[in-house]
């Protein structure tokens, strides 16, 4: 079953906090492979996370 971008965006966020289960992981990977928008979104959330952590360490 395919997931849409909205569902993918939730999984991308969730994956930053805890490991996804296999069902979620596989579907997200397939979606990201096909969807440039979601790859960009995922990259931006990672940048945001790294920036927050750096700020949190006073760097």
């Amino acid at each position: 079953m395919k997931i849409n971008c909205r569902q993918a965006s939730r999984l991308i966020s969730q994956g930053l906090d805890q490991p996804l289960n296999q069902w979620q992981y596989v579907r997200l990977r397939v979606h990201l492979w096909m969807c440039g928008n979601c790859r960009q979104f995922s990259h931006q959330l990672q940048l945001l996370q790294q920036a927050a952590r750096k700020a949190g360490r006073g760097e």
Partner: protein
């Protein structure tokens, strides 16, 4: 020994940091004071290998986490329902759940640029964020706590916790986006 002038220069930064978590100016000022006193008392342990800011931040972070753990659960009166519903992002997606607009690459930011402007963007963005949402984000991303501890502190389920973090990230992403695209135009 730390020069007092150097210390003073970091006060605004520390206050911003404390305020993001505590959301109460008096409480933030109090913990910043404690941090600075602790720093002055143990001035010798500052090796100069890390920056003064990094060192002070690590003391503040420790104090914030300690306070969080001692104080126990946060008392929050806002309804959780409003915060665990992500329908306010409906406008970003089409009916079938695809992005309404193309997600453009941010032209400006490297990670270091973003982290330097982080507090500024966060401060403005979190003004319109529900309290629990902003707090969940700070606990998770700034202080690096794990989900179980955040759920426990905010007294929400793991599922609700995920939604809070999702909402915070969606909002902050938009705030950064406005900043980068705005700067690109200027």
């Amino acid at each position: 020994m730390i020069a007092h002038a150097d210390l003073e220069a970091e006060l605004a930064y520390l206050q911003r940091y404390a305020l993001a978590q505590l959301r109460d100016r008096d409480a933030a000022n109090e913990i910043v004071q404690e941090t600075v006193l602790a720093a002055l008392e143990s001035g010798d342990s500052f090796s100069g290998k890390s920056s003064l800011r990094t060192w002070l931040t690590s003391i503040l972070r420790f104090k914030l986490i300690d306070r969080l753990r001692r104080k126990g659960k946060e008392v929050l009166f806002e309804s959780l329902e409003d915060e665990t519903d992500d329908s306010d992002f409906d406008g970003l997606f089409s009916k079938d759940g695809h992005w309404q607009d193309k997600i453009k690459a941010w032209s400006g930011p490297e990670e270091s640029l973003m982290s330097r402007q982080f507090w500024e963007v966060f401060e403005r963005c979190s003004e319109v964020m529900p309290r629990r949402t902003a707090m969940a984000f700070v606990m998770r991303e700034v202080m690096g706590l794990d989900i179980a501890e955040i759920c426990n502190n905010l007294d929400v389920t793991a599922t609700n916790c995920s939604v809070l973090l999702y909402r915070a990230r969606m909002s902050l992403r938009e705030c950064f986006e406005i900043r980068w695209t705005g700067e690109a135009k200027a």
